[in-house]
Each structure stands twice: as C-alpha cells, then as structure tokens.
Amino acid sequence: MDNGASSYLRFLNGENDAFTELIRQYKNGLVLFINTFACDIHIAEEAADETFLKLYVRRPRYNGACSFKTWLYTIGKNTALNYLKKRSRQSSRPLEDYYYISDETDIESDYIKGEQNIILHQALGALGKDYSQVLYLIYFEGLTAAEAARIMGRTSRQVSDLIYRAKKALRAELERRGFNGQI
C-alpha cells in the first residue's frame, strides 16, 4: 500500500494527523496539476482545497484499483472543474470563503528553479491545456500513461498520441523562444 493510501486509511480510522500528511504530500502537485487547466495558481489552490474538503467531509472510499495519487487527482480534476464553473457564476462571495495563507513560500517559484527550467515551464504554459496537462502528469508527477489516461478521461492510446504531439509542440515552442540550450 503506498503512503497516500495508508495515510488516507488512517484518516478514515480517525487520525486527523494523517489528513495533514495527505495535504503535505499531495497538495503542491495537485495545485500545479489543476493549474494546467485553471491557468491561475490562486484559483488552483482554492480548487485543491475544495478537493481536500470533499475528502474530509464525504470520506469517499478508495478501493485500491489504481494508485492513490491517480484516484486523488481524478477527484481533484472533477472537483476543480465544478469549482471553476461555480466560480464563474458567482459575482460575489462571503468573506468567510476567503482565507489567506502566508505566502512565505510560493508553490510555483519554488518548483521552478533555474533559468532553463523557467523557460521550459513558460513554454509548457503556452501549450494547449491537454498538452500541458499530459506532460505535467507524465513528467512531473511520474504517472504512467494508463494512470494519466484515467485522470484525463481518455484511453491509453489517446494519451500516448497526446504525449507524442505534446512533445512536438513543446519542441516547436522552445525553438520559437530561441531556446537552444543543450536539449
């Protein structure tokens, strides 16, 4: 059983510390993943919080048919899409819905280190959402094509093709930006 699954199981058995461990382990990655289609890091953070809130209140069952990360990211994606839709309808929200966490750390800037990586991530951000999403899941979350397919709601074959096209598009984008540093 991977760490996430065991932490979740402990949380279901009543250990709230295990819930904190889940957030510590998965929140950053989930935020960055959601950011690939939310295109706003702050909204992505809020959507990630909604995902963890859903886990806390509803306690959905995890049956181990896929990795815990895959399961969590699938829930996160669906929750984020609903959240984005609701958010687009709301013109005002109660103040209590907002909270501020001290930004002594910035998820994005922490993650991106080095000029080469910065350029790479800028190019990634310029790609279509599907392309950036699949590359993020495969290369930065370490998921297999099958797991990424599960999260994205596509077949493994579609994801394989998507990876191929995404890499070509990323290469073209990098060349357009004049990136010629030791590919």
Binding site: N16, K27, L53
Partner: protein, 534 residues
C-alpha cells in the same frame, strides 16, 4: 505551524462545520418525526379513553325503571364481551356506559379510575337478587370518522410546524436499495472513469440522463437495423457530431466506445443495456428522488441539446422517468424472498451439494471475492485481451485457478455471467455483499501485482525526450527501437482492425516507408523485404 498544517486546520474547520450542520438537520428531522409519531399515538389513546369513559349515574329508586339491566354479582366476564359488542358500532370500545356502583364487586374488572363497563348478565336474575336497571347514557359517541379527522388535523399541524419545512437531503441517508452492480457503476461515475456529464456542461443533472437515453434509443435502432457495423449507422452520425459522440461514449468508460452495460435492477426494461437506466439510477443515488414531470419539462425546455429533439422525445422521457419512479425499492418494503430463476436455483443446488465449488479463487473461503475475481478475470481476458502474464492483477497460478474453476454456469466460458451467478449465491436475499470496504481493499492489495518502478521524470528527462521524439525510425511502427517482421505484422493488424490494433501517431509516421503517403499493406511488404534482406 507550517503552511500545510494551517491549510489542513482550515479545511478541517470548514469540514467540521459542514458535518455539524448535516447532523443538526438530521436531528431536527428525527425529532419532528418522533414528535409527530408520539402525538398521533397520544391522540389515539385519548380517543380510545374518551370512548370508554362513563358519566356518573344518579342514584335512583329501585323501581324507577330508568334503565333496565339484568345483572348479578355473579356476572361472568364473558358478559362484558357481550355488552361491549352490543354497544359498539364501528369501534370496539368507542362507547360510553354508566357505572353501576352496586355491581362493582361483581365485576372482574379491577377497581381503578378507568372507565368501567357495565355488563348485563346473561343469566337470569335469581330470587336473591333484585334486577336493577341502569341508565346507559352516551357521553358523546366517538367513531372512526372523528378519529381520522383528528389525526389529519394533527398531521397538518405537524406539517406546518417550522421543523418540517425542509427535509434532509444528505446523500449519506439512502433509503433506496441499490444493487452491488449499481454501486460499482456509481463508483466509476464518481471517480471519473465513466463520465456522467453527457452534455458536457460541467454538471450532472437530469438533462444528461435525457441525452444518454435518447442516444441509446437511436443507437439501438441502428444496431437492430444494421447490426454490429457501426460505420453504417447513418441515422446516428447525422444526429451527433464527432465531438458530441465522443463525449457521450465516455460514459461507457475510458475506452470511449459503446458497450452494452449491465441491466439495472430499477429499470423497467429488462433488456435496456444502453446504460441510460443505470445513469438514471445514479441520478436517484445522488438526489434521493427522481424529478417530477413538471420538473423534467422545466429542466428540458429551452435547453440546447446535442442533437435534434422534439416534444415527443421529452414526453417519452418523462414517461420513462415516471416508470422508474414506480419501480423504486425501499429498504422498508424490500421483499426478502427474492424470486430466483431456474438456472440460479440449479446453480445454487450444485454449490450446496459440492458438485461445483464456489471457492473459485482457491483461497479456501467461499465469499464475495470469488465472484469479484471472476469479474476481474473476465475484464482482463475478454475485454482487454490480456493473458496470464500480461494482466495487472493476478499471478499466473491464480489466473489458471480462476480459468479452471470460474465457469460456474457451465456454459463453457468464464465471463460476467459467472460473476453474477456467484454474486447471487453469496448475496442471497440481500442486494449488497456482506464484505466491508476494508476487507475489499485488503483483498485487492493482495491481488494487485507490484508495479514496475517508473523512470525518474523531471524537466531534464522531458527535455531529453523531446529530442528523442523527433527521431523517426522508418520501418518501426511498433516503436520498439528496431525494424523486424513484427513491424510488418503491426501494420497488417492496423489495417485489419484499427480499433484494437491501431498504430500511434508516431507509429504511423514510422510505418510509411514505401514513398506513397499513407500506411498500406505495401508498407508491410517493404518492411518484410527489409527484414528478409537483413
């Protein structure tokens, strides 16, 4: 407290508030229900009590002849019954009589403040006794009509009270019974493997059920007309764009292709395998009830649909939901004695006698997991075409065990029918299996093979892979890094069955070797000649 602990604390605080609110609503509903029940019971007791109460009798001269009662001190209890039955019309005790003081000792009734029934004795008066008469005075007859009116008034009052103004729609409270098959499908909808958002508006509502049912009807029309060859489904392709069809097909799983779904228990059509009824049942699962006709019309009118829709489609859908509504089985009305088919009874007899073992997976225990493992085997082998070595779940030994013992229906193949038969056997008289979630998870952990460690993926790896992806190896459609006869076979398989053996985009580029645009059998021939020449 670091930022993760702060975030967790905030989320838990919001979560606790949401859970507390839910509990509060449930408690209010329970209190109101209890109050109404108690009130109704109290009203009934009061009515009964009023009915049997007597007005006190005025002392009268012996020969006043006011009331005639032929009673003795030796009046037997049986006479009480006679009087009671005589007195009552619609209610057995809804009559009032006066109390005869001189006969107090004669009656077997215990002295109490409760109203007493004066009973005329059936035996004739003896010489020692003086017949006495008792005036029977009615103090206001109570009948069923008045009781019904009283209860109706009480109920109406309860309904108008503030505690009854809303009902708890907590999804945790499911009075509707769902089968385990349905619960499995609902999990797929919840976890995203099967999409429930048919119309792609980001929400799941009754409109999605409508769209799927309409698509299913049209698909089945084409299937009946043209058979399996979906390229002939002109009527369907005229109605649905490629994008819309792809989105609908994702409700049949991540493969995105139509498949006949399991029949839902709550359906009206035992042959409805389009998945529409299961999706409708999922709606019921999420919302605790189906929408009314007016709600359906309101939801569907002035909506934009993904195909052409007319009024009869909407009316037909409302009728369909109405029938589903009638077929809902609730836990307090479920009949434990489910009717089994002859095939099931025969199979159960084979299990019970030991002629066929229900311990299909060979773990020494006959339980729900035997059925579950048969189902996984069926999906791996029959749906995905995997073999013992390729499958993700079972060791070769267990695969062989299931293959050898899984055909419990004795039809020559291990498939989902065997799973359903085992499930019926283990879940007799219930709709859900008797295993806990933890037991399920533990079992799956034992089954799932260890995954191979994935290569480290970083920015560096991505950049390196970008360089590699541009490299085209002509003659390597299966992208195994070399050119061999297997590549020729891969091309021919792609041509023969694109759905199952289609090449990837890079594979298509690699496969086109004959100088003519497009992948054809000639490319396969060229590659074969390379292999032979090498």
């Amino acid at each position: 407290m670091d930022r993760y602990e702060k975030s967790a604390a905030f989320i838990m605080k919001r979560g606790d508030a949401a859970i507390a609110e839910r509990k509060r609503r449930k408690a209010v509903i329970l209190r109101s229900t209890a109050a109404l029940t108690f009130g109704t019971a109290a009203a009934l007791v009061v009515c009964i009590s009023l009915n049997v109460m007597k007005t006190p009798r005025k002392p009268a001269p012996a020969s006043s002849g006011i009331i005639t009662e032929t009673g003795t001190s030796a009046a037997a209890p049986s006479t009480a019954a006679v009087t009671t039955s005589v007195r009552t019309s619609t209610a057995s005790t809804a009559s009032t009589v006066t109390t005869q003081t001189t006969a107090a000792a004669a009656f077997t009734q215990e002295p109490s403040s409760a109203p007493k029934t004066t009973i005329p004795a059936t035996s004739p008066a003896t010489s020692e006794q003086t017949p006495e008469t008792t005036t029977i005075i009615s103090q206001g007859g109570i009948n069923m009509k008045k009781i019904s009116a009283f209860i109706a008034a009480l109920t109406a009052t309860g309904m108008l009270s503030p505690s009854f103004t809303y009902a708890d729609a907590s999804p945790d409270v499911h009075r509707v019974l769902f089968t385990q098959n349905e619960m499995n499908m609902f999990r797929e909808y919840e976890e995203g493997d099967y999409s429930s958002d048919i119309n792609g508006d980001g929400e799941f509502d009754i409109c999605d059920v409508f769209e799927l049912r309409l698509y299913g009807k049209r698909f089945m029309y084409c299937f009946d007309k043209y058979g399996h060859d979906q390229s002939k489904y002109a009527e369907l392709s005229e109605q649905y764009s490629r994008e819309a069809a792809d989105r609908i097909l994702r409700c049949y799983g991540s493969e995105g292709a139509f498949r006949f779904m399991p029949v839902s228990s709550g359906g009206t059509d035992p042959h409805d395998t389009t998945g529409a009824t299961i999706l409708a049942r999922y709606y019921l699962f999420k919302n605790d009830s189906y929408p009314s006709d007016s709600e359906i019309f309101s939801a569907l009118e002035s909506r934009s649909f993904i195909s052409s829709v007319d009024k009869t489609d909407i009316e037909s859908f409302a009728e369909y939901i109405g029938k589903l509504r009638e077929n809902i089985v609730y836990s307090d009305t479920y009949d434990d004695k489910r009717t089994y088919t002859d095939d099931e009874l025969e199979a159960f007899a084979r299990f019970d006698s030991g002629e066929v073992s229900a311990d299909v997976n060979g773990d020494g225990i006959e339980d729900f997991f035997d059925g579950y493992d048969v189902l996984v085997y069926h999906v791996m082998k029959n749906d995905r075409g995997q073999s013992a070595d390729e499958n993700e779940f079972f060791s070769s030994e267990k695969w062989a065990q299931i293959e050898a013992n899984g055909d419990v229906t004795l039809d020559g193949i291990v498939d989902d029918k065997d799973y359903r038969m085992l499930n019926s056997y283990f879940c007799r008289n219930t709709l859900t299996p008797s295993v806990t979630l933890d037991e399920m998870k533990e079992h799956l952990e034992k089954c799932i093979k260890e995954k191979e460690p994935t290569a480290e993926r970083t920015e560096k790896a991505l950049l390196a892979h970008i360089a590699e992806s541009v490299t085209v190896i002509k003659g390597d459609p299966n992208i195994d890094g070399r050119v061999s006869i297997a590549d020729s076979v891969a091309i021919l398989q792609h041509i023969g069955n694109r759905d199952r053996f289609g090449l990837s985009e890079q594979g298509l580029v690699n496969a086109d070797v004959d100088g003519i645009v497009g992948v054809t059998a000639n490319d396969a021939r060229v590659i074969q000649s390379w292999d032979a020449g090498a």
